[in-house]
């Protein structure tokens, strides 16, 4: 798998990247901090072992990579990559699918709320 070096170089700020399966040149701890909290939330120790976190990060990156490649394959038929492709890929996994639809609808609501808020602010601004 060849990755565009432009994209990869933006990640290799530190030289501490070890060769991983995906041969990414990327910083080791891209998701490390977040992953620690996440693993604690899901049942691990309050301080997970660093090697465990590194392994989980590798697995997650590989998972996302495979997912994205598959989505691209599907999306290429349609022309470009879209959210629908990801949703199609996880259609069998009900919890994930429901969660994603929730997230999307929440995002829509947020957008609406922000728009409404900005309009109000403008009004206030002009009134005062």
């Amino acid at each position: 798998m060849s990755n565009p070096s432009a994209g990869a170089s933006s990640k290799s700020k530190l030289g501490s990247s070890q060769p991983s399966e995906t041969s990414f040149k990327r910083k080791r701890g891209v998701f490390q901090k977040d992953l620690q909290h996440m693993m604690y939330g899901f049942g691990d120790d309050p301080n997970p072992l660093p090697e465990t976190v590194a392994l989980v990060e590798d697995i997650v990156v590989e998972y996302v990579t495979d997912l994205a490649h598959k989505a691209q394959d599907i999306g290429s038929r349609r022309g470009k990559l879209s959210v629908e492709d990801f949703l199609y890929l996880i259609r069998k996994d009900l919890p994930k699918l429901n969660r994603c639809t929730e997230l999307l609808s929440m995002q829509e609501e947020l957008k609406q709320a922000r728009k409404a808020f900005e309009v109000d602010e403008e009004k206030l601004g002009t009134l005062e």
């Binding site: 990755n3 565009p4 994209g7 990869a8 933006s10 990640k11 990414f24 990327r26 891209v30 998701f31 901090k33 977040d34 992953l35 909290h37 996440m38 693993m39 604690y40 939330g41 899901f42 049942g43 691990d44 309050p46 072992l49 465990t52 392994l55 989980v56 697995i59 997650v60 998972y63 996302v64 990579t65 495979d66 997912l67 994205a68 490649h69 598959k70 394959d73 990559l81 879209s82 959210v83 990801f86 890929l89 996880i90 996994d93 994930k96 429901n98 969660r99 994603c100 929730e102 997230l103 999307l104 929440m106 995002q107 609501e109 947020l110 957008k111 709320a113 922000r114 409404a116 808020f117």
Partner: protein
């Protein structure tokens, strides 16, 4: 604009829209101020309920931090301040963590989110949450608030697909999927640990076994065929 000076908050500020499962403003923020008055009569631990998470863990409400009247001015502000203050708490050591946690829990408020939330479910959630120990509450809070950073995810997706056109919903969705995947991994690793009758922090061997089992169950997308003849 920044209400806490935690460096973690700077990273979180990138999560302008709602991080996957943070109890960010959404509609509640608009309905928040009228609810504040009612909610304080509840006393004790109040939980902000929204239609989040009805499926994955069968949980309804989300925990919201004390909303200072000033912070309810923008959803964005509130979400970053909420996330930041919790994140700040979470990044502290565990012992100090409990103190912060208690303060936040005491001030957490309840507001019934009218949308798809089931009232009986919400009542159940409140009953459960009110009986959480500190430890459980902190873990729950970590669970709700943790998220993969959208910026990092976006960078990763761009480098994978080679295309710069990664929309925001796509990033959010992939972050959500990845988080749930981490959950599956960790939970399965814990199961593996109990089978082997081990305790303590999860070790890489447990994760590997969990990953192997997930692969057998078909929950991990398989690489396309090229690996056949290795």
């Amino acid at each position: 604009m920044k209400q806490s000076k935690d460096p973690f908050e700077a990273a979180l500020e990138e999560q302008e829209e709602s991080p996957p499962d943070s109890p960010v403003g959404e509609d509640e923020l608009n309905s928040q101020t009228p609810n504040e008055a009612q909610n304080q009569t509840d006393g004790g631990q109040n939980i902000l309920v929204d239609d989040d998470d009805d499926d994955y863990d069968d949980l309804g409400p989300t925990i919201k931090n004390p909303s200072h009247p000033s912070s309810s001015s923008t959803p964005k502000l509130h979400s970053t301040s909420v996330n930041a203050s919790v994140a700040a708490a979470v990044t502290n050591k565990n012992k100090e963590y409990d103190d912060d946690e208690e303060e936040e829990n005491v001030d957490v408020e309840l507001s019934k989110f009218p949308s798809s939330a089931d009232p009986t479910k919400m009542a159940k959630m409140q009953a459960i949450l009110s009986q959480f120990t500190e430890d459980q509450m902190s873990r729950y809070e970590s669970f709700r608030r943790s998220a993969l950073q959208k910026s990092n995810m976006r960078r990763l997706l761009v480098s994978i697909t080679g295309s710069q056109k990664i929309s925001l919903p796509m990033t959010i969705v992939v972050c959500g999927i990845a988080k749930m995947f981490v959950g599956e991994l960790v939970e399965k690793a814990r199961m593996v640990m109990t089978e082997r009758k081990e305790s303590g922090p999860i070790r890489p061997c447990h994760i590997r076994e969990a990953y192997r089992r997930l692969k057998l169950e078909g929950k991990v997308p398989k690489r396309s065929v090229q690996r056949l003849f290795r």
